[in-house]
């Protein structure tokens, strides 16, 4: 439908979230003032453990949940003042199945198109295209109730694409979907992203984010604790920080090639170590300078801890599922 401002061909900002907060009626503070920008054409992961606030954030963008504070713009359309335009730019694949289970596959998709004001003739053409791409065309006359879990998910993707949104948001689209279907969904999502649709996807599988996304925003406890290129985040993850306690104070720290050394106080230093590199060279250089290390510990790292939890999550899911 090509709605939204900006000149054609010039990428604009698909999503701009400012200081977004949400406190539920029961007092739970699900979002504590988050900021996020996603540029047009991006493939962005919103990564975080269960209860982090992902679904809440997405609910607000898609006007299924009322926000407590802050602002959201979708392709320049503020959801407070220009909601109709914001909505027509957005497609949502929700976390929970929200299909009319008694309705037929084709009808579900065409009805959704109708709500967006798309005439039936065009809706039928598009329905055929998307249902075919998502391997559901043969099942177009089945009632949704008769579909498997993976098929229901794909039906929700087809439904979300029927008005050809510029920004597609998927909330844990592959949760509970077996590995083969998951991979074919990844292929499909990569393709529509390559064709120009901006995608935001929430997940608690690190592997999924790593596989698909160029941008990653990590959310935990209602706050965005990291928002960067995927490659940078992976690099940050491979660096460990150690805290060393020295026997005697040193006036100036030696340069140690390959390590970043910072002084905390006279007898304490912090060293960033790339996990590929190892730690032996560090001690060799320190010893050469007559510096004796009495003790050493690993510095707690919020990002790292979070990833440990995500990885555990993944292992639980892999162990429990399939």
């Amino acid at each position: 439908m090509g709605s939204g401002g900006g000149r054609p061909g010039v990428p604009m900002r698909a999503l701009q979230i400012r200081n977004l907060s949400k406190t539920y009626a029961n007092g739970v503070q699900a979002l504590k003032g988050i900021d996020l920008n996603v540029e047009e054409g991006e493939f962005c992961a919103l990564l975080g453990p269960n209860g982090a606030g992902k679904t809440t954030a997405i609910g607000i963008l898609t006007s299924l949940i009322n926000k407590t504070g802050g602002s959201v713009e979708v392709f320049g359309h503020d959801i407070d003042t220009d909601l109709t335009m914001a909505k027509s730019c957005l497609g949502l694949v929700p976390q929970e199945i929200n299909l009319n289970l008694f309705d037929k596959v084709l009808n579900i998709v065409v009805t959704q198109a109708g709500y967006y004001g798309i005439p039936r003739r065009i809706a039928l053409e598009r329905a055929e295209r998307y249902l075919t791409q998502l391997q559901l065309w043969d099942r177009r006359e089945s009632v949704a109730r008769a579909l498997s879990g993976g098929m229901k998910r794909r039906l929700m993707i087809a439904r979300a694409l029927i008005h050809e949104p510029r920004l597609l948001i998927l909330d844990e689209p592959t949760a509970g979907v077996d590995i083969e279907i998951r991979r074919s969904m990844w292929v499909f999502l990569r393709r529509i992203n390559a064709e120009g649709t901006t995608i935001i996807l929430t997940t608690h599988y690190l592997e999924e984010a790593e596989n698909l996304c160029r941008q990653v925003a990590i959310i935990d406890g209602g706050m965005i604790i990291e928002n960067d290129r995927m490659s940078n985040v992976l690099r940050k993850l491979s660096v460990e920080t150690f805290v060393l306690n020295l026997e005697h104070g040193v006036a100036s720290l030696p340069e140690v090639p390959g390590y970043v050394v910072r002084s905390v106080d006279a007898t304490t230093v912090e060293v960033d170590v790339d996990s590929q590199r190892g730690i032996n060279d560090l001690f060799t250089v320190l010893t050469q300078h007559g510096i004796r290390v009495v003790s050493m510990r690993n510095k707690a790292n919020r990002l790292e801890e979070l990833f440990m939890r995500l990885v555990e999550n993944k292992m639980v899911a892999a162990g429990g599922g399939a």
Binding site: S63, N66, M85, S88, N98, L101, Y115, P119
Partner: protein, 261 residues
């Protein structure tokens, strides 16, 4: 995007919703159209033919003829209400109401579409019951415009009421409480089976507080030309309900009461 585009999109959206509601009514006709037909046939046989003969005249008409307009209205009211409350609550419960909420369709159209569904079901059932009534008695509207406008507006009032019920409902029980404890008693006491002139003075006055009395009597006036109340009053009250309930329902939908966190 200009105004004409927006208008056309809204027209498509409204048509889609009304078509969906209509299809639902026809698809589950065993639940939507058959039960009122059976119930009303029983009413006509038992109250009209068997008991009615012993009752004799009511307000100068045969009893069968007297209750026929009331029974038609009763089925219109129950079915208009029932259609919207179950369709809207069902969509809320299974969450596919989100299909509408994420779309650019304005709240006023969501309201209009569901009310249209209720009116369609109410009028379909009303026509069916009228057809059945014709096997038992003669019905030739004295005032056709009054007949049609009153039955239409009454269907609108109870479709709106059904939607408001569905907005506040949290579980399936909540959508049967109002029909059982409010709607049915008010209908039975709303002059379907008797003229309130039969009642003692005090109960006549109490009856006048029942809005359904006005609708039933206005409809009977349309068909038989006879009413317990002035027709102007009846229209006044019906319009107040249409406008009041419409505004209330629209505010609820805009706010997202019972739908959005």
């Amino acid at each position: 995007m200009g105004r004409p585009t927006r208008l056309r999109e809204n027209a498509v959206a409204l048509y889609t919703l009304v078509d969906k509601e209509y299809t639902r009514i026809v698809r589950i006709w065993i639940q939507t159209l058959v039960p009122p037909a059976i119930t009303m046939t029983l009413y006509f046989v038992i109250f009209g033919s068997l008991i009615g003969r012993r009752i004799g005249q009511m307000d100068g008409f045969g009893y069968m003829q007297y209750i026929a307009p009331g029974l038609i209205m009763m089925s219109v009211i129950t079915n208009a209400y029932g259609n919207v409350v179950s369709s809207f609550f069902g969509a809320k419960f299974a969450r596919h109401i989100e299909e509408m909420l994420v779309s650019p369709m304005p709240a006023s159209l969501v309201l209009l579409g569901h009310v249209s569904g209720g009116v369609i079901r109410g009028l379909l059932v009303g026509a069916l019951v009228t057809l059945i009534a014709l096997f038992f008695t003669d019905l030739r509207p004295v005032h056709p415009f009054v007949t049609v406008s009153v039955v239409f507006l009454t269907a609108v009032v109870f479709s709106l009421a059904g939607l408001i019920n569905a907005v506040f409902a949290r579980k399936f029980d909540d959508i049967s409480i109002v029909p059982t404890f409010v709607l049915t008693p008010l209908t039975y006491l709303g002059g379907v089976f008797y003229s309130i002139t039969l009642l003692p003075d005090f109960w006549q006055k109490v009856s006048l507080a029942n809005p359904i009395l006005y609708m039933v009597n206005a409809f009977r006036y349309g068909i038989l030309g006879k009413s317990d109340i002035t027709i102007g009053h009846a229209y006044g009250i019906i319009f107040v309900f249409v406008i009041g309930l419409y505004l209330f329902a629209l505010i609820l939908l805009r706010r997202g009461t019972g739908i959005r966190e």
